[in-house]
């Protein structure tokens, strides 16, 4: 059966790029969840990963580098009925967009954030990203990266993000399920996805990701924050799966007074009768 989210078009990624794999995964997840295209909005920043929505039949807001999250939150504020999915790169989300990452997690809108984590700046030709591993040499980091790579999982857990997971393009089934659950989850859901940039990251290749990851044990309980943190610190190999879930968090837009009264999205409301307000100024 045809996937109506799939758009037939030229795709500007390099042959072999991990983005293709993730695209397939996301498309399957959308289909399997039976989402309504007319209510599904993708939001992205700028970068190779951020082009993803261009290649799908969805609404999208392809904004500025690093600024997908506030835009996504604004969309949720205007219309909480929409399913909002952010798709962007590691540089975009954790570099330029770091502050929004912190505070959107605190806010906890009901959005899903899929990060194409290729550990490099792809579109700008191979500089280090916040998740680049130590010693990677690039045209800018000429003596190799020496800064501590940002660990998005432990960071999100420290901020008490309500759903924190890691997938990998090398594990499509697992990753698809994570993304589906993330979309179904009410609240901010992060799915950081390992994937290769075949043009600029010669270290963290498809093979490397295969060899340096493992699935989290089925018995693991993702509701324990400290355990989750401990798991998130595991490296070489890196665990894949759901690290942490907090089901008790208030969802941002639901907590806005205007949506406590009524669920109507903003565009359906008429809101300009100010007579009562003016009386106060007499």
């Amino acid at each position: 059966m045809e996937n109506m989210f799939e758009r037939q078009c030229e795709i500007a990624w390099c042959p072999g790029c991990g983005n293709f794999g993730l695209r397939k995964i996301v498309l399957s997840a959308l289909k399997e969840l039976n989402l309504d295209q007319r209510n599904t909005v993708f939001v992205s920043g700028i970068g190779q990963a951020a082009k993803a929505p261009q290649y799908m039949n969805v609404h999208y807001f392809n904004g500025l580098h690093g600024r997908a999250l506030p835009a996504a939150t604004g969309i949720k504020i205007a219309n909480p009925d929409l399913t909002v999915i952010v798709e962007s790169g590691d540089g975009d989300m954790y570099g330029e967009g770091g502050n929004h990452f912190l505070h959107t997690i605190r806010r906890n809108p009901d959005i899903t954030v899929i990060v194409h984590n290729n550990m490099v700046y792809g579109l700008t030709k191979g500089q280090a990203s916040p998740t680049s591993q130590k010693n990677m040499v690039t045209p800018i980091q000429v003596e190799g990266v020496f800064e501590t790579p940002l660990n998005p999982l432990s960071l999100a857990i420290a901020l008490d993000a309500s759903f924190v997971a890691r997938g990998s393009v090398g594990e499509p089934e697992l990753t698809k399920e994570l993304i589906k659950n993330a979309i179904l989850h009410k609240g901010f859901a992060l799915v950081d996805v390992f994937q290769a940039c075949v043009s600029f990251n010669k270290i963290n290749t498809h093979k490397w990701f295969k060899e340096n990851t493992y699935k989290i044990d089925e018995t693991y309980n993702p509701e324990d924050k400290i355990k989750a943190f401990e798991l998130a610190l595991k490296e070489y190999p890196f665990p894949l799966g759901l690290f942490y879930i907090n089901k008790n968090k208030v969802v941002f837009e639901e907590n806005l007074p205007l949506y406590k009264k009524s669920k109507e999205p903003l565009y359906k409301r008429k809101n300009d009768n100010i007579k009562d307000l003016l009386i106060l100024k007499k």
């Binding site: 909005v41 939001v43 261009q54 039949n57 609404h59 392809n62 600024r67 969309i75 502050n99 999205p265």
Partner: protein
């Protein structure tokens, strides 16, 4: 002739000047006095010297005057700071227990307060005292005290009413000294009393604003606070965002999905939004920005006033895209333009600015009916079908705007150069160039919708004064004072685009004088750039305070 009297209260932040101001403006207005109040304050919460000027008059009074008839210093520092502004006719009121000053009138506010139980009541006593000097109806005094303190509980209300009445009675011993006699006007009691922040906020609501995002920054925060206050009743989504970049991007997301969001900010905060502004331009997503100016560069004088960010508003954002900039000059305009901003942003799918400044935001006066019937919220988004194209090329450059979730079309907006579907393109000479031209075409439409500048004074002028924004009332008052048959005043409540007729107005003048509250004359420069007319006569002020009427009268007279 106008009969007016001005009271200046000055003292440390935290000494209660602000609460006296809040009470007095209400009391005087409700009693039928025309009232004007403006304040200036330091960037601190306690200490320093802040002041408020309250002018009471028998006729409408809308602009800052520098005479001080009654001066109430709350600290020695306050006296120091105002030494040069008080003259032989200024009556100085002090409580000698705390402050001594030559030729001042000693009034035992604190002793009276202590009698009631605490010196914290002295502010209410002062309010009662002043009300009494102006022969305010005591019931109005009591009722206002009641309304203002109601939230704090019965005990506090009662004590304050007692304090007010004590102050009221105390004044009776001094009637002979002050001999105040200003005509009241019953109509005033029914009028509105607003400051600039109120007018802008209410206008936004009238324009259908249903979301407001900001990061606190003086002086723009007052509008944010108002919107938060209204939010409960008026279902406005309020969010304090982590930074100003987040603010503008959240606002764009909100508009994209069918909301009508207001952004309120000041210079440094707006500087951070310039990339986002460009995103509004490229994606043709509407947004309304209230830019409340204060002196820069950088942190500058954070609680002061200046018209120094016009250039920033004009040129912010990389690349070329249309915008509208309104600069209301009085409360009516603020209300009207703030509402209009939402409709224009929606209609033309562009960023629209409302420019104010600290002086404008913090200045109160009574005003007749607001232009309530001429504002309404106009929505321009459409229900889409499956063939919908967000950026359809049209004759005038404006495409119908769909929103996700309303209809069957897909709404794809893109910060990259895009095709009609909103998909990225590099077809440089094809659709890419057409998109650029589409956005350029909108300049023409927007120009057509420009508000005309308003001419005050002589139709057959030789000398033309020009102003924009918050100087409106001051220049107007100066004009009335000067009485020169060659003089007129052309006021721009929309500073960009400039109206077509601007050239004609300039051509008719022998001498053009541009008056601005900034160091270089940014609007004068804009006029030169857009019309080719030299604008070398400029009256500029940039110490962080607004012009006073007297100051302008003098400067204009010198220059003409």
């Amino acid at each position: 002739m106008q009969n007016k009297l001005s009271i200046v209260l000055a003292g440390e932040a935290g000494q209660g000047i602000q609460s006296v101001e809040n009470l007095l403006v209400l009391i005087f207005k409700k009693d039928g006095y025309n009232i004007f109040a403006t304040k200036e304050y330091m960037s601190r919460i306690r200490g320093g010297v802040n002041s408020t000027t309250i002018i009471i008059s028998d006729k409408p009074i809308i602009a800052w005057h520098e005479d001080i008839d009654l001066f109430l210093p709350f600290s020695y520092e306050a006296i120091n700071r105002f030494k040069d502004k008080i003259n032989y006719s200024t009556r100085i009121i002090v409580d000698k227990k705390y402050i001594n000053y030559e030729n001042s009138i000693d009034i035992p506010f604190n002793k009276t307060a202590e009698e009631i139980g605490s010196t914290i009541f002295s502010n209410t006593i002062i309010a009662g005292f002043l009300a009494s000097l102006f022969n305010v109806n005591i019931e109005i005094l009591k009722k206002t005290i009641f309304d203002v303190f109601a939230k704090k509980g019965k005990e506090i209300v009662d004590k304050n009413i007692i304090a007010a009445v004590r102050g009221y009675d105390l004044a009776k011993n001094y009637f002979e000294i002050f001999k105040i006699n200003i005509q009241k006007d019953k109509k005033v009691a029914e009028q509105f009393l607003l400051n600039g922040a109120d007018a802008i906020s209410l206008g936004a609501v009238a324009g259908g604003c249903n979301a407001c995002f900001a990061y606190p920054m003086t002086p723009s925060t007052s509008v944010f606070t108002n919107m938060a206050l209204y939010s409960k009743k008026y279902d406005i989504a309020i969010e304090q965002v982590e930074d100003e970049i987040g603010v503008i991007n959240m606002a764009l997301g909100c508009w994209y999905a069918g909301g009508r969001a207001l952004v309120t900010t000041s210079g440094g905060g707006f500087a951070l939004m310039t990339e986002g502004l460009s995103l509004s331009g490229m994606t043709e997503t509407p947004v309304v920005i209230h830019l409340a100016q204060r002196p820069g560069p950088a942190t500058g004088l954070p609680t002061r006033t200046e018209q120094g960010d016009l250039n920033l508003a004009l040129y912010a954002g990389h690349g070329v895209f249309p915008r509208i900039i309104y600069a209301p000059g009085n409360l009516q305009q603020a209300f009207y333009l703030s509402a209009l901003a939402f409709n224009m942003a929606d209609k033309y799918q562009i960023p629209v600015f409302i420019m104010s400044d600290q002086y404008f935001i913090d200045t109160y006066y009574n005003t007749e009916e607001l232009p309530l019937n001429s504002v309404k919220s106009e929505n321009y988004f459409v229900k889409t079908d499956i063939n919908y194209k967000r950026y359809k090329i049209t004759e005038d450059g404006i495409s119908l705007r769909g929103i996700p979730g309303y209809g069957d079309g897909l709404i794809a907006v893109d910060s990259d150069e895009h095709d009609e579907d909103g998909r990225i393109t590099e077809d440089l000479n094809g659709i890419s160039l057409q998109m650029k031209n589409k956005r350029l075409k909108k300049f023409i439409k927007i120009k057509e919708a420009t508000l005309e500048p308003v001419l005050y004074g002589q139709r057959e002028y030789k000398i033309l004064l020009i102003g924009w924004g918050s100087t409106h009332n001051i220049i107007l008052s100066a004009l009335e004072n000067i009485k020169n048959n060659d003089l007129a005043f052309l006021f721009f409540s929309q500073v960009y685009p400039l109206h077509e007729k601007t050239k004609d107005y300039l051509r008719n003048a022998v001498k053009v004088i541009v008056i601005e509250n900034n160091a270089t004359g940014q609007f004068a420069d804009l006029i030169t750039k857009e019309t080719g007319f030299e604008t070398k006569y400029r009256i500029l002020k940039y110490n962080g305070l607004q012009f006073t009427v007297e100051e302008l009268v003098k400067k204009i007279t010198e220059m003409i």
